[in-house]
Each structure stands twice: as structure tokens, then as C-alpha cells.
């Protein structure tokens, strides 16, 4: 099983060497070891030659990936290749830090993210990483639950198993798990950027709703999920559990309790994006209807902004009612108003509720245009004085803001707080933020 013994020394293509420290895990395609490489702890994945049909393809692909370098720090990217060993080879990559867990542990309810805010942040990290990957002309091809490591505290994400990542016209031949594959791929088509988007949406649905989007009562009622039914329910006749027209694969109160709890929490935009992904049209006729990563980014950032600490009980709550009622303490809490960042380029803009400690992030302002990888950098933070019904916005960026009152323009320098009043506009960077109170 574990084929390499502790202490084994292996040379690499870059002329370095590594030492096997311990066996970590066995996957479908290989064994993963903890190793020491250039004096640093690293991970080694050693392929099972019998389980990977195109071993040479992987070797060439990884060599290319190493040349290009990691797309961002969210990718656990190959760093070096071993020389051939026992009819196979391996590649070296960063080691997963211990505070990151397998996505599967979350799906099995063994652990949970610290908050919905962290969960949404996790989704943002995943989506923006895949946006970057696609922008660079790559496709992931075999995206599934095994590809993410997640930090529960804040939803930070590391994407592993990047050996499949390749230019779109160069498929690895790995088909992956049917449950995560776009119907066209289940039916034998090639994976590409568009089919990645389907797989991505399945992962997001699982993350938020904790059930599979195509596994409603119809799919769960088959006698056996064999080839025939796999092709039927994931390929030929896929049907969304929340399909607005055809309810025959809908949820069941006993089996899909997670669905009943969580789907209602989704905002309309989130629901629409899921519904569009899993619509008959997108799944069966036109895969270009799958939402783009940028659409997910926008929806998720807005969604995340509506999770904050209740000003009364300090527990996480979600703003979905007017007047707002805390999901934890059940009390009505004050929201003093709203900041609005006007949209451009097809974005609807963003709304930021005037609740203590809620932040405006760089991405609210630049609409994901200036950053390659989502960084979640706050630039402004809401302050409140509930007793007086007043709110302020602290400049926690390092640039000056400008705002106009009665025709005169004033400056708010970093670390200052500007008092907000209805109708006022604050110029932050090159965007106008208007105040509605």
C-alpha cells in the first residue's frame, strides 16, 4: 500500500532531493507523503501507475505547470517533479497547514465553519480562484469535493490536486465523479471551462445548502445508482431539487432537512444563480448559460455583507427582514440606513447596511476589477451611536476620501471617521458611495 518507506531519498528533476518523512493518505490516483525538500516540509504525491491512464500526460502537464508557477497563493501548486521511481513518479507541492480541513469533513458534519460569514467568504475564495484559473486560459476539468482545504475560522481556501489543471484544449482524460460532472461530461463530452462552472456550482450548493442539487426524491428513489441511472440522473435527465417548474425531483422533509433550513436563507440573486445553473436549458442545451464566476463573486459579496453581528446580542445575524429581527436573540435591532455603491459594467452595485462594524471592502468599490485574486481588504468601517441615531464611516484605508456638503468638498483622511447624513456622497477611490438614512 504505502509504497515508500520513511527515510527514502529521491532525486528531483530540478536537481534537488527529498526525504520521505511519513505517509499522509491514499487517494484514487496516488499516495500522498509528507517529505522534506530543500530543508522544508512539503507534500509529495506519488501516482499509482495502474490507476492513471495517461501518466505521461500528467508528467508533461506538471512540468508545464511548474514553469508557469502558482496562479495565486490559494493554489497548492506543483513545485518540482521526482525522477522516475518504480514505473511511476511524483510531484512536490506545499503541505496543507494543519488548521485547514477537508471539504468532506464539513459535508459529513464533522466540523463546521465558524459562521455564515466565513462560509460565504469560503465560497468567494473558491469562485475567485476559479475565475483566475479560467482567466489564465486553464480548465480544472475534475472539480469535486476532494479539491478544497478549508480553514473553518475564516473560510480561507486552498485548492489542491492541481495536476489536472491544463489548457482547455488539452484534456487529461480524467472524467472524475459523475455527481460533480456537467451532464455533457457524464455523457462522454470533454470537460472545459464551462463544465468547470457546473462543478463549481455543485460545490457551492453543497457548501451552502448541504445537499446535492440533483439528488432530490426522484434520484434517491432509484433502486440502485448503477451506470444506467447515473447516466439518467446526472446526464440525460438531470433535474434540480429546487426546479421552479418540475417538482418531481424536489426535496423530502426527512432526507433533505438541510435544504429546508438553508435554501430559504439564500437571497433572490443567489437562488437565481443556482436555478440558472441547474436549469434544463443550461444543463442540457446551452452550457454557456452557467453563471460566470464574476456573477457569483458579485452575488456572494453582497450576500456576505448581510451577515454581521447583531448590535444587541453580538451574535451573527442576517439581514433579511424589515424591520430587521435578529436570528439569534429574536429582537428587533436598529439599522440606521444603507450605503450604496453604484454599479457599473453590468454590476448592480452593492448595498452596505449601517450596522456597527460592517465594512466596505475593496471589491465593493472596484467590483473585482483590479484584483486577480480576491483579497477581502476592508477600506471603511461603519460606526454607530444608536442613542443618537447617528452613524459614521471610518476610513481604514490609506487614501483620502472626499465628500461634499452644501457645495463644499471636505477630506476624510485615513483613520478619521466621517459622520453620515442622508443623501451625502463620499468619493472613495474612483467610486461614489451614497448614503441613504
Amino acid at each position: 500500500m504505502a509504497e515508500l518507506k520513511t527515510g527514502t531519498v529521491i532525486s528531483t528533476e530540478n536537481g534537488e532531493s527529498l526525504t520521505i518523512d511519513s505517509f499522509i493518505a491514499e487517494g484514487g490516483q496516488g499516495y500522498v507523503y509528507k517529505v522534506t525538500y530543500k530543508g522544508q516540509p512539503r507534500a509529495l504525491k506519488l501516482y499509482k501507475p495502474e490507476a492513471v491512464k495517461k501518466l505521461d500526460w500528467f508528467h508533461d502537464n506538471i512540468r508545464e505547470e511548474i514553469k508557469v508557477g502558482a496562479l495565486s497563493d490559494k493554489f497548492i501548486w506543483p513545485e518540482d517533479l521526482t525522477v522516475p521511481i518504480n514505473n511511476t513518479f511524483g510531484y512536490i507541492m506545499p503541505l496543507k497547514p494543519p488548521e485547514y480541513v477537508d471539504f468532506d469533513d464539513i459535508l459529513l458534519a464533522k466540523c463546521e465553519l465558524s459562521s455564515f460569514y466565513a462560509m460565504t467568504n469560503c465560497a468567494l475564495n473558491i469562485v475567485s480562484a476559479f475565475r483566475l484559473l479560467h482567466r489564465k486560459g486553464y480548465a480544472y476539468q475534475d472539480l469535486n469535493n476532494g479539491n478544497f482545504f478549508i480553514r473553518l475560522r475564516d473560510g480561507d481556501v486552498l485548492i489542491c490536486d492541481n495536476d489536472n489543471v491544463s489548457p482547455e484544449d488539452n484534456p487529461s482524460g480524467i472524467a472524475g465523479k459523475a455527481r460533480y460532472m456537467s451532464p455533457s461530461v457524464v455523457m462522454g463530452g470533454r470537460p472545459n471551462r464551462l463544465t468547470d462552472r457546473f462543478s463549481l456550482a455543485v460545490c457551492l450548493f453543497l457548501l451552502f445548502i448541504r445537499c446535492h442539487p440533483l439528488e432530490g426524491v426522484k434520484a434517491l428513489s432509484v433502486p440502485e445508482m448503477n451506470d444506467y441511472y447515473l447516466q439518467k440522473h446526472y446526464g440525460k435527465e438531470p433535474l434540480f431539487i429546487a426546479d421552479p417548474i418540475d417538482h418531481s425531483n424536489g426535496p423530502n422533509r426527512d432526507i433533505h432537512r438541510n435544504f429546508y433550513l438553508r435554501w430559504p436563507l439564500m437571497t433572490n440573486t443567489m437562488k437565481q444563480l443556482f436555478t440558472r445553473t441547474f436549469s434544463q436549458e443550461a444543463m442540457l442545451q446551452n452550457e454557456s448559460k452557467y453563471p460566470l464566476e464574476i456573477e457569483w463573486c458579485r452575488a456572494l459579496l453582497q450576500f456576505r455583507t448581510y451577515f454581521f453581528k447583531c448590535p444587541l446580542c453580538e451574535q451573527e445575524t442576517f439581514l433579511d427582514s424589515d424591520p430587521p429581527v435578529c436570528k439569534c436573540c429574536g429582537r428587533q435591532y436598529p439599522v440606521l440606513g444603507m450605503l450604496k455603491v453604484n454599479g457599473v459594467n453590468g454590476s448592480h452595485g452593492y448595498k452596505i447596511p449601517l450596522v456597527k462594524d460592517v465594512c466596505i471592502f475593496r471589491e465593493h468599490l472596484d467590483d473585482f476589477s483590479s484584483t486577480e485574486q480576491f483579497v477581502s481588504q476592508p477600506v471603511g468601517m461603519v460606526r454607530t451611536k444608536i442613542s443618537e441615531g447617528t452613524a459614521g464611516l471610518s476610513n481604514i484605508s490609506n487614501t483620502n476620501w472626499f465628500y461634499t456638503i452644501g457645495g463644499a468638498t471636505y477630506t476624510c483622511v485615513p483613520k478619521q471617521t466621517v459622520k453620515l447624513r442622508n443623501g451625502m456622497t463620499i468619493r472613495i477611490g474612483n467610486r461614489d458611495v451614497t448614503v441613504h438614512m
Binding site: A51, A109, P223, E224, G406, G407
Partner: protein, 313 residues
């Protein structure tokens, strides 16, 4: 406050709001004369932030999410059946081999957890009689424990086949679950040394019955022929393929083979080669299974591999 706070819809500013605005605004907004001093007049709470505030912030560790009582995702079940020969000829080392292997298998199955499917198993022993060692109620989760089986009696293989056929059923057998759940194709593992003592000695009679069953026909099967004198023919009849009949060299080999079967079946095999004209990516292909199992076996028995290349001066 009449402002509509929910996302996605732009809000009109109502009259009441404007009212609020007047009450709220201490300084006349339209008076251009007044230079607002941030430090004194306008700042609500002048809170100098010495550090930029990181927002992974202090989201509380409890809150609405903790009240959600999230359940594991709904999973399919992967049924694993062990058919274990406990006839008298198994007494001694053979039975010991089976028991210690099963201990390790159970321990391993306990640790194989994934969100694609949930492993559950049942053990049917056949000796003098045919008995569901894991109970008549169906498949049970793998908690890692194993109760030693003791050899006695004849080999009622054909009866075991009939019993298995009855339970490979969703309407009255072991695939009937309280809540609606489907299964992956079952995994069937036969461990025997012997010959059927009830009817056809190669098990053809019982197997003919089993083959009427759809679940059986769609199952992954391997057989482990225990001991050198084992009836390979019966095993081959069971698996339908000579290559899926193995000899139990040792407990580890057995474990390795079952490991391979379990892993081959839990996830859909990646047999699809995208440049084939019409690949069938969801076919769990027994060729890969055979290859994998053989590879594992070769790892354990390297001397078998080397025969061809040996050169002598």
C-alpha cells in the same frame, strides 16, 4: 424605519426618511459657509484606528449557524456483503486467517468515510446452516468491530446463494431503508475453501438463482479461495471472471484486495478517456479493477514478477 433593507432591490427614499434626515442632521447641509471640522463637529466617534481592522474580524463563534443543527449530506449507501465459508474444513489456520483479515478489514472500513456514499455491510456465514452474522435486519454501519467466526458443519453454498438472493432486494430485502435512500452497486466478497455440499458442487445451482437477481448482476464481486486445495471453479462461477478470484496469501493481501474493490466502486471510475470517440465515463469497468487488484498483489509478491527477466550466466 421604512427603508427596505433586503438586498437585490433598489429602495426609494420615503418621506419619513427625509423627516429622519432633518432630525438627524445637526449641521445645515446646505450652508456652504460651515467648514466642517472632522475632529470636532462631524466625526461621530472619532476613533483613530491605529491598525487597519482585519475583517476576518471577530465574527462570533456562535450565532445563527450554530442554531442550524446541520446534518451530514444525504448519501447513497454502498452495501458490502461478505459471504464466509465456515465449514469444518476451514478449521484451524484458514479460519484464523479469515478472522484476522476481517478484523483488519472492519477496522479499515470504519475509516473509509466520504460524502459520496456511506459504507454498510452484512456478513452471511455458511456451514451447517446459513446465518446472517450481522443480524436479520439488514446492513449495518462499520463500527470497526468483528466477532470471531467458528468453523463447523458442511458447506451450504447453494443455500447461501438463495439466502443472498432474497436479501438483494429493495422491496423486502436489505435495500429497504427507513428513509428514502438509494445504493451504489453492491460489493460481494466470497471467502471459501470448499465445495458446495448442498446440490451442485461447483455452486451452479445457487448461482443460477442469484443471476436472476438484478442487483447481483450489477454487483462487483471478488472471491478469495482460501488454501491451496480450494475449489477455484466455484469461485470463478461466483465472480464470473477468473481474474477476480484470488488466493489468500495472507491477511494483508486479503485486505488489499478488498480495499481495491471498495475504492473502485465508491467513486465512479475515471475510465472515460476523453479522446475516445464515445467514452463511457460512468461505467465502473472491471478491467481497471482487475488491473488494480493485480498490481496490489504483485506488490506483495514481487517474486512472481521477476520470473521473466531472470537471466543466468
Amino acid at each position: 424605519m421604512p427603508i427596505k433593507l433586503t438586498p437585490d432591490k433598489p429602495e426609494p427614499i420615503s418621506e419619513e426618511q427625509q423627516q429622519t434626515q432633518e432630525n438627524f442632521s445637526i449641521l445645515p447641509d446646505d450652508d456652504g459657509e460651515i467648514k466642517v471640522n472632522l475632529q470636532k463637529d462631524i466625526a461621530v466617534d472619532i476613533i483613530p484606528n491605529e491598525e487597519p481592522v482585519p475583517l476576518e474580524l471577530d465574527m462570533p463563534d456562535s450565532g445563527m449557524l450554530q442554531s442550524f443543527r446541520t446534518e451530514p449530506v444525504a448519501r447513497k449507501i454502498t452495501p458490502i456483503f461478505f459471504l464466509i465459508d465456515v465449514s469444518r474444513s476451514m478449521e484451524g489456520v484458514k479460519m484464523g486467517t479469515v478472522n484476522s483479515a476481517m478484523e483488519e478489514i472492519m477496522n479499515d472500513l470504519k475509516n473509509i468515510e466520504n460524502s459520496d456514499s456511506e459504507l454498510r455491510f452484512a456478513v452471511l456465514s455458511f456451514g451447517t446452516g446459513v446465518q446472517w452474522v450481522t443480524g436479520e435486519n439488514g446492513l449495518i454501519p462499520c463500527d470497526g468491530s468483528w466477532n470471531t467466526l467458528v468453523a463447523d458443519g458442511f458447506t451450504y453454498f447453494n443455500s447461501a446463494c438463495r439466502e443472498l438472493r432474497d436479501k438483494l432486494s429493495g422491496s423486502h430485502g436489505f435495500f429497504k431503508f427507513a428513509a428514502r435512500r438509494t445504493i451504489t452497486p453492491p460489493i460481494l466478497i466470497l471467502m471459501t475453501d470448499g465445495f458446495a455440499n448442498d446440490g451442485d458442487r461447483d455452486g451452479n445451482e445457487g448461482l443460477a438463482k442469484l443471476r436472476e437477481n438484478k442487483y447481483f448482476r450489477g454487483s462487483y464481486r471478488i472471491a478469495i479461495a482460501i488454501g491451496n486445495d480450494a475449489n477455484q471453479k466455484l469461485c470463478e462461477n461466483f465472480t464470473g471472471d477468473k481474474e477476480l478470484v484470488f488466493t489468500a496469501y495472507n491477511a494483508n493481501a486479503l485486505k488489499v484486495m478488498i480495499d481495491a474493490v471498495v475504492k473502485g466502486s465508491v467513486t465512479v471510475s475515471s475510465a472515460g478517456v476523453a479522446d475516445a470517440p464515445n467514452p463511457d465515463p460512468v461505467t465502473p469497468d472491471s478491467a481497471t479493477l482487475i488491473q488494480t487488484v493485480q498490481h496490489e498483489m504483485n506488490q506483495l509478491n514481487p517474486e512472481e514478477n521477476n520470473n521473466e527477466d531472470e537471466s543466468w550466466d
